[in-house]
Symmetry: C2
Subunit: 592 residues, 2 copies
Amino acid sequence: MEQNIRQRIDSLRAFMASHKLGAFIIPSSDPHQSEYVAPYWETRKWLSGFTGSAGTLVVTTHEAGLWTDSRYFLQAAEQLEGSGIDLYKDGLPETPDIASFLKSRMPMEAVGIDGSVFSASAALQLKKRLEGDAEVRCFDNPWEPLWSDRPPMPQSDIIIYPLQYAGTSCADKLAAIRQTMQQNGADRLLVSSLDEIAWTLNIRANDVHCNPVAVSYLIVEHEAAHFFVAPQRVGNELGAYLAENGVSVHPYDAVSAFLSNGDRKQVLQTELGKTNFALYLAACQGATVADRPSPVAPLKAVRNATEQAGIRNAMQRDGVALVRFLKWLEEAVPAGKETELSIDRKLHECRAAQPLYMGESFDTIAGYGAHGAIVHYEATPETNVPLRPEGFLLLDSGAQYLDGTTDITRTIALGPLTDEEKTDYTLILKGHIDLAMAVFPEGTRGAQLDVLARMPIWKRHMNFLHGTGHGVGHFLNVHEGPQSIRMNENPIPLQAGMVTSNEPGVYKAGSHGIRTENLVLTVPAGEGMFGRYLKFETLTLCPICTKGIVKELLTQEETDWLNNYHRIVCEKLSPSLNKDEQQWLAEACKAI
Amino acid sequence: MEQNIRQRIDSLRAFMASHKLGAFIIPSSDPHQSEYVAPYWETRKWLSGFTGSAGTLVVTTHEAGLWTDSRYFLQAAEQLEGSGIDLYKDGLPETPDIASFLKSRMPMEAVGIDGSVFSASAALQLKKRLEGDAEVRCFDNPWEPLWSDRPPMPQSDIIIYPLQYAGTSCADKLAAIRQTMQQNGADRLLVSSLDEIAWTLNIRANDVHCNPVAVSYLIVEHEAAHFFVAPQRVGNELGAYLAENGVSVHPYDAVSAFLSNGDRKQVLQTELGKTNFALYLAACQGATVADRPSPVAPLKAVRNATEQAGIRNAMQRDGVALVRFLKWLEEAVPAGKETELSIDRKLHECRAAQPLYMGESFDTIAGYGAHGAIVHYEATPETNVPLRPEGFLLLDSGAQYLDGTTDITRTIALGPLTDEEKTDYTLILKGHIDLAMAVFPEGTRGAQLDVLARMPIWKRHMNFLHGTGHGVGHFLNVHEGPQSIRMNENPIPLQAGMVTSNEPGVYKAGSHGIRTENLVLTVPAGEGMFGRYLKFETLTLCPICTKGIVKELLTQEETDWLNNYHRIVCEKLSPSLNKDEQQWLAEACKAI
């Protein structure tokens, strides 16, 4: 492996030499700035051997460095050993950022980037930082001659997402988008985000693991729309459907020429953080480019009535699958044969048996004991451990159903717990409930509510560094914007119809990890002083383990919330369960 | 009065005609962008007859308009009646902003402003908005020929603020400021804010009602400092003190020439939002001007140990005065002779009897019954009402002591209350306590904690539109930055040593208003996960009326906080009280 890595980096250095580049930067992204990318675009992984989801490789003539964040410090150190690549730990005060690193390695004539995977905003910032030191030279996907066994471009089947699940037609979505373009004075809109395209056109595919999207671009004009995708993927039915909606089909690779051949007097709107640099340069040749937040993301985030009904139905089936799994787990663990990996297979089986199941929405995190404290833990044959009837199992999983996407975390007591585990568990539950009970005026941002989930652990001088809540797509990506519930400011208010997670946690290295996650729908709470108020409807239907609860740490209001939640879970899931399962559920949902 | 107003506006129009101005804009500010201004700078009030603290007058050749916010809609409508000035209600969707209003009145050659009272940032923004439509012409204090009976410039005595109260010497403060200038690569710093100058030089005066500041400018260089103030105000002692600290004295009016005669290659740092436009233009002639947040505000906001001890002592004396007042009030109201105005006089007497008393920190808000719902109510002989032994009295007041500034609101049950009043009172207390009990990691911003004070009323669909907390100066202005606790994002974190108010409220027009306010000091709470944690120490020492409390609405933790607070109040104030007062206090502080 290390030998391969050295050869690959040498071949990149030969390419760099032939183009007089002093350095080359390789980020983790794809041309669509996706959070998760298809293997075809895993260039950074291929070049460096580091398999984490986030990291940037920088190769100079004599050095190579990988920048990654604290989640991956251990893993990257192991995977880079012997590769000749140095680890740069992002976020530590002594770690230079990449531009500063490059400035300290001057003189060099130019720095190379693959403009097709660098976002325009990142590339423009880099150019600014290196101004006067080195030119930034943009190459468009230069890997083909170097990467002989490169995986193929994804080409999964594209389906038309039925109106009975989408609720709003493609025509109506295009009309809503065109209205925002009108307000912005834009003649054209370039959409690169794969989930935004899937939502707009009401299509789904399977190009990225767990993300039901199709690799493509979309350009919306006032009188036409252009879908750029590998032509062989558009059959008769899809072609006719797109034509009906005024959407013409072009080859995926034709987007650049299409943009550069436009009219310079026309305004093309796009979000530079979501648009790759190569396309941005092409667009600048054929239009006046206006950097504006995508109008699709906020439209997509607000669920229509059909989508709301869909996710409620999906949650009911997901809950039934989870109850069957949890009942099985309770019986299986004492028998002593289960492991982190084996229960993941069982969980998959339970979900796959449900109608409309389409796959998982992300790779399950099943962390037993100390593994629960590794926030992005994914069990492998090497790390896999047997489950014993004691301590906590942290289980974060989700599914794609045709009528909605789920994402749930339960921390399950497999047997006796320490007092510290019980206290931590109860404080996290307390925060989860306090956020779930929030009522707030229209216009409230997630960063204002975030503290509700954290205050119980802050009072014990504990915290968690991930967000409290992320948006969740509708049979789409499990992470979506624009809203969030985090410590950081995000100016987007929570709106009625948005689906967001509520997932406080606490992680004690070497000991245990706890997280309790439900999805919540923002819903109207009624009129009041100075306007309308909103609240959360908890969508997820699955018992919250009561074995770890220290009742005295909950207020009566919090206890009432939990008992009421369990009453609803029981009521909604029981009709789909057999007698034994009903009995198990009733016990799990017993009032505390 | 209306006749005078018309004559004054006519004289301004004559001035405008002679300078070919199509409009003139008159804001409420002074050359130092003070929140409260000396009568000398009450030009907008003199020209319009409107006495509110916030408002901007725009005069065109044939129209005049006053823009003000919702606090003043009623008052402005009354005061502008018959003046020929139209009221523009800021914040309503149908109200144009001033630039839009002016654009709709084009063509005009130029718009005039008094550059000495317009902030540089506001003036630059106006110029940008009117670009291509009209020139913005800057006049420097053009009122002398028009305003014959203009009040004189303030010239109160300037005192040296003793080190025993300031805790940090002027020399050390200048050194700290120079260190930030070094980091910013600045050769000079221009400070216009009066409280920043008073803090830096350790001086106090009485130029602005309730604000112990001296009208002046300060320029800090690495090897020298320059204080611009009316020369007759600097006696031998002050002169010698300033000289010792390397501060030379210049006439107040000399600042502009001093700035314009500088070296264009030198960098002058100033905050454009706190610097007037006329000075900015002068500075641009004599330096490269860098717009940077003032380094003084954050230094000033973090109290040293002496200041912390001082404010604790001041709070003890303020609490003693308040207890004497509250005991008197309880006995006086049933006798039937007291009014909103008479109790303000009594409160003043109680405070004035305390050592180190220097005056009030703002005009008392004493609102009985429905008057409590008028957020910025100030009783006048016309509005004054007698206090009856029923309902709520909202009393917001504060004092300047040599060792600290106080600001406290109590809502006092004068007799029987309605259930609604009791519920509202308890919910506001609940929010106050929840914020007071907060613990949070270093780096937390006020906007993250604000929700703690609001959630109890949000759950009943109520809200208040003012901030939950503002910074408070140290024997300085009762409102200071840079921190705040508000719904709006403010990137400044709460730091150990900052003094901030905690003042949720609720206001029901025509019925009652409730606010409960203490000042809190941010203090270390200890080390924890990922770093250090902070909490609030409540500084204010005065019983919180328990008569309106619905105990079932409080959690045990909240009840415990209140009982503990009252135990501390009793313990700290009793030694300074006589037997009768001690007995009254013990009763007021009885555990609920």
